[in-house]
Assembly symmetry: C2
Homo-oligomer: 429 residues x 2
């Protein structure tokens, strides 16, 4: 843990630098898999599942029976918890529905905007040591609200060729029935080109390791949209003397346990709080089962003292954290002033893990400073907006001359003609 | 022009295939320019402007005096037309503002979503034979409404080292004052990395040729967002006997004059309309100054007869046109049923050129079938949504247990601790 006091503004970017990732070396692997899946479909999918996951699958699709059996194995307590989370996530995302926006821009010219669902989507749920069934909630619930027709969920199989019970239970709870037991580069390629078993989709959602991230980036080159570019998870806390040092430490640790490349930062206007949080981290760290991981990312973390909330806000907007916790007497200043953040948590009783699981907000968020331009996943991520217009004879008379002049000035005579011909007829009638 | 009757559904994808583009061969050039601009900044910008545009620039920035002089040279008529268009575009995009969405998902848990502007953006306006000042309106107006702080407009210089008067006039009318006289790959690289003269931005908007398109794609690899992938322009018209063949022909030609790779398609339930439109195209084509271009893209165009509106709708949703004109007795069926389109034009007096210039809708739209997943440019394109949450002690008691159970099941003990520690304190007080 490094403590830094009053850093010079010109050093901010160095201090706030994220752990670097290089992707160039895995691009050739990703290209190879894409080419193979494009040419050989399911055969290539199976080949790479054997190679990367060390599994031979009987079927790429999860059967109804498998889903039913999995659901039975999930404890009633956990089912209740998942259902509570589902209710809140559903409520918050349903509230994001927007009405059609209609304007008569000038008499006789009616323009409107409507959102329509993206018809075919793929949801990627990582496998690995922990079954991230919470991500199923975060992606499948808004997809259902938006009205996406074909929702394909993909997740890598474990060594027994299975997907975790919790993931299967949550998927069926959210109405997702097409579940593919394939992960990694090969399934992103499958969703991009389509195979006999894996449907081709228009947009791919979900987190993943570096291979999945590069594969999603390559998918965009083939015209498939993605939710956002991904990077290691991160948290920045602003806290002053009104904060509880133990709580702040627990939040920093909850982010640190994600992976050794996670980044946690504390910014504070109080030197004593920084000292207390530092002590609390040492105390709490020892109790954690994922201690080794948390220790490594904590080692890279920064505790930054600044003189004022104004400077703090500026520094935070430059860093653009994925998760941003505010425990400050001046919380309003931060709420109003934050421009670059993925999701914001306010007050001593709002731990970041609330948003990870059950408060209702989405946890699929832009990392790596991407929140400067990208939103986290929300209802709109599953729709696209279409504009409509209907112009009456009177309307065309109102704007026709402007169109003619502008089209002519841009050297597009046929654009002008389309209007002139109609205006001529209207005049003659 | 090829006329096709009742095509078999399995042949749709072949019939509707767009002119193919290969980009692999220009990727190495784009990579080279990016590397040079990253290393050498403005020096590389100047080098490539000399190489690609054959111009030595005194300054990369357009001066205040240049803008003033340019404005004087634009005719009063054209200024009036541009101002009419600006009013309508402003009205339609301003109506797209959304309020904060706030929900108490469960007692004591308040979640909300707010949109904040993307602070730094770049707008690319192509140069070439015609000055596309209308695109300045389409990008700068919503950027201003959204509240973007730094708006940088870039456009390639002509042989005299200048940007067209109309572009400069429109830019200052829309409040854009930072105008860079650089185009092509080199300016996209400049906006990506920043140079002494060109600011680094978070998102790049605007159309361009293949080089610009590939450069924008590469920019996303460096974390810069883009509006959408681009391709040649396209129009699909559905028309029946209620349509006016001359008008339909004029609309198809207005799209065809954009470039030899533009694609225009007529789908109709009336064989006589198809015959009449075909005749009208031949008549009108001869009068066009851009006849040679229009002729080539018309040669690739398709006139498709289908038996019913139902089949037509299905075919249109599969094609996913950028521009979609409806001239049909059954217009409601198409308005309700269209899922994949960029912008929709309804009725005999709504030519596509209205939306290109002055009705109020945006003309920066997804081509190449990308409207299956992407929206056209709209107000939201210049913002990102951030979620906020504030949880009271009561709120944490309501969802705390669910979080604990889910975190534990995902193997994330520190996530659980952050809640348990707080719940324990609340109970004791």
């Amino acid at each position: 843990m490094t403590t830094i006091e009053n850093p010079n503004k010109k050093d901010w970017s160095t201090i706030l630098k994220r752990p670097t990732q290089t992707v160039d070396d895995i691009e050739s692997t990703v290209n190879q898999v894409f080419n193979d899946v494009k040419l050989y479909g399911d055969e290539a999918i199976e080949k790479y599942t054997l190679k990367f996951d060390n599994v031979v699958l009987e079927s790429l699709l999860v059967s109804k029976t498998e889903i039913e059996k999995a659901s039975i194995k999930v404890s009633e307590d956990l089912k209740q918890a998942i259902q509570t989370a589902k209710l809140n996530i559903d409520k918050f995302h349903r509230a994001q529905k927007t009405d059609r926006v209609e304007v008569e821009t000038i008499k006789g010219v009616i323009c409107w905007q409507e959102k329509r669902p993206i018809e075919k989507i793929g949801l990627y749920i990582p496998g690995g040591t922990a079954p991230l069934f919470s991500t199923v909630l975060m992606l499948a619930i808004p997809a259902q609200i938006a009205g996406c027709k074909e929702i394909v969920l993909c997740s890598p199989p474990n060594k027994e060729g299975k997907i975790a019970n919790e993931i299967l239970y949550t998927a069926q709870l959210c109405g997702v029935t097409k579940i593919i037991k394939v992960g990694g580069i090969q399934v992103i390629a499958g969703l991009t080109f389509g195979t006999a078993t894996i449907p081709q989709v228009y947009k791919i959602f979900g987190p993943g390791n570096q291979f999945v991230t590069v594969a999603k980036q390559l998918a965009t080159k083939y015209g498939v949209a993605i939710d956002m570019p991904a990077g290691p998870s991160e948290l920045l806390v602003i806290a002053d003397d009104s904060a509880n040092a133990a709580y702040v430490a627990s939040d920093l640790l909850s982010q640190a346990e994600h992976g050794t490349d996670s980044q946690v930062i504390l910014v504070s206007t109080s030197k004593s709080l920084i000292a207390n949080v530092s002590k609390e981290i040492d105390n709490q760290l020892n109790e954690l089962p994922r201690k080794e991981i948390a220790q490594k990312s904590i080692a890279n973390s920064k505790l930054i003292f600044v003189e004022s909330d104004k400077i703090a806000l500026e520094l935070i907007n430059e860093y653009a954290p994925e998760h941003f916790i505010i425990c400050s007497k001046n919380e309003e200043l931060y709420i109003k002033g934050i421009v670059n953040a993925g999701s914001v948590f306010i007050g001593n009783y709002t731990p970041e893990s609330a948003g990870d699981y059950a408060s209702g907000t989405n946890h699929t968020l832009p990392t790596n400073g991407f929140c400067k331009a990208y939103s986290g996943v929300n209802l709109d991520s599953f729709t696209k907006s279409i504009t409509f217009q209907k112009i009456s004879k009177e309307g065309l008379q109102n704007i026709g001359n402007a169109i003619e002049l502008m089209a002519e000035a841009e050297g597009l005579q046929a654009h002008k003609n389309a209007v002139s011909m109609r205006l001529k007829d209207i005049k003659q009638k």
